[in-house]
Amino acid sequence: MAEILDILASATFWAAVIRIATPLVLATLGELVCERAGVLNLGIEGIMVAGAFAGWFAVWSGAGLWGGVATAFATGMAFGLLHALLVVPLGLSQHVVGLGVTLLATAAASYTYRLALPQVTSPPRIAPFEPLALPGLADLPLIGPVLMVQTPLTWAAFATAAAVALVLARTPLGLALRAAGENPAAVEAQGLSVTGLRIGAVMAGSGLMAVGGAFLTLSAFNAFFFEMVNGRGWIAIALVVFGAWAPGRAVLGALLFAAFDALQIRLQQTALGAALPYQIFLMAPFLLSILALVVMSRRAAVPAALMVPYRRGER
């Protein structure tokens, strides 16, 4: 117990929590945007892999770090467009198409990697984002040391969360998007295009997911590994439910999961870690997340038209 308190009192722990949460925040926001418009996007896991690869590959090819982020976003949008075209105008099963997109995007990343780098044994490295200490914030007592080590992509992720919350709640675009996820017939009766809104939402959301993946190669690490996304996409889907489809609560969920994850890494190095098999610690964040999900999602407000294809002129 004392060991846990020690960990919780350290600034490096909280710095790690925010770092670990960043890709989850981006991916969760991306999925949330898709789902608020009525489209489940199970392509998320593969889109994150593709984003991680595309971002890294662009930087490795000399595009610059922000060029890498833009490439990742564009790659995500392209896979989002594919998913959206299949499930929105054609109305195909969102589950099947989503899993297909995940397989395709993952495979496309591996294929391109092998094609571009046939000979390498260890993954080539890039110079990743440096920590950016925002003036003012870094000097704060207590949280200053936590914040001063964060990279620009982390700042961008949390700014995006605020922007998504604002757009959804306060702008005509956000209203139209939410209405498309609640009752597409209402959107159409008001003269807007359900198809256009849903495709746009899925593309934008997929772009965010891909940037979430790119955070791993451009900020958290400095190279691309095939297994690096490691289920974060699936976690993001659960976090959307955990956050009851609200951006603020979804970010809280991402932070909570990241805290569990950071805690288990540190607990492995304690006396407790010596006594128990390390797999138990790896499993713990997922178990705790499932528990939290069970508690939180009982009063969730699911978008009423989530996963319901909209076909015009049908009766």
Partner: protein, 514 residues
Amino acid sequence: MTGQGAATREVLRLEGITRAFGPVRANDGIDFALAEGEIVALLGENGAGKTTLMNILFGHYAADAGRVTVFGRPLPPGRPGAALAAGVGMVHQHFTLADHLTVAENIVLGTVSLWRPGLGLAAAAARIATLARDFGLAVDPAARVGGLSVGERQRVEILKALYRDARILILDEPTAVLTPQESEALFATLRRMVARGLSIIFISHKLKEVLAVADRVVVLRQGRVAGAMATAGTDRARLAELMVGAALPEARIAPAAAPGPAILRLAAVSTAPAGAGPGLAGVDLVLRAGTITAIAGVSGNGQAALAALVAGLARPRAGRLVLDGAEPASWGPRQALAAGIGRIPEDRHREGAVADFDLVENAILERYPALTRAGLLSWRAARRWAGRIIAAYDVRTPSAALPARLLSGGNLQKLILGRVLEAGPRIILACQPSRGLDVGATAFVHGRLVAARDGGAAVLLVSEDLDEILGLADAVHVMSRGRLSPAFRRGQASAADLGLWMSGEAFAEEPHAA
């Protein structure tokens, strides 16, 4: 009302509109015109093509042929946005509102550019409040639509159109979901609109309403215009004949000969809430062989809970359910079916049928165990069974292989009715059996229910339509907030008496109320 003088300007013209759904020709060369400041009723049986025609005008569907002209300009087909911009508003029969959004959000949706930074909800709410006051459409702009009554939702739909400065308003069966008082309020609103120069298309199959509210009537039959005339120069009998294609015999329903033994008895039964409505609160009810027992009341007052209980979909939480003099050991859908309870559900599309199944499959939904041979379904027997229902219950369809969703509401109801009655039930649970049906189909359904009663069945009729209840029922109860009034025998209570119980006022004075 402003009339049909030559000085009035034509605002809308439909020419040669044709549209087919699969093999069904819903519209077949329809011509229609509307003048400024008039209310035109579009009258027709179910499946006559009224809703299809208006959905084409509003751009939900594109017509296969024909053109639409609004204020002298052709309207591009298949785009609701174009119709809205041209000043056409539509109040859909099935409201197009998002439940989780507020009234103001639903109204503002699509009225400002998507790329504008803010919604301007405060200004919008003020404008909505002004419109609501001017036209008598009281509703709170900040309320969530999901918590509104059906009448309030309809006002939101109308406000949506007014907020966009619609000059032509289409109302699709607007009174189907309203109480008599709410309908009167709606008519008053419509009169205020035409007084300000708006034009209104009022889709209905209720002759009384059409004659009361419209200046002119256009009658549709089987996708074609059967006649058009001023309401001043016509009457119910003439309109009914045009609508159905033949003179309607006046139905006289004889009362039950003598009530038989009690089949099902509820004693002080309470249940959990069902759907959007409350559960039952200490309900006493007796269903006797050879009688029609009706439950009057505004929807959402516990009728869903009562129907679920009788159909075996819910169990009593307190009180006793007695079947043939004994309390059943367990109560579920299987037991209800075994007890001979036939169910005509309230929402025939959602609960009564599987939309993408064809008519044969839908006809055997509750009967397939009896149509098997060696454990395998006999499609020959199934088709024979379905063919019998289609023929005996006048289900108008080009083929038994048609998916149920392509059937009009009236024809689907006849199929469900046949499915229930052909199985020879002892209790018939009929929820809103004539809702949305035209004169012909309603008379058909009523006649079959009375025939089943005369054959010894106990009919439980749940309805919002007081005319239906007063015409059919041998005993009437009124339901309000989960409570049930005492029984009134035929002729014992007037519509006004029942209205007092419906509003819940009479309960408070009665020691009987739980």
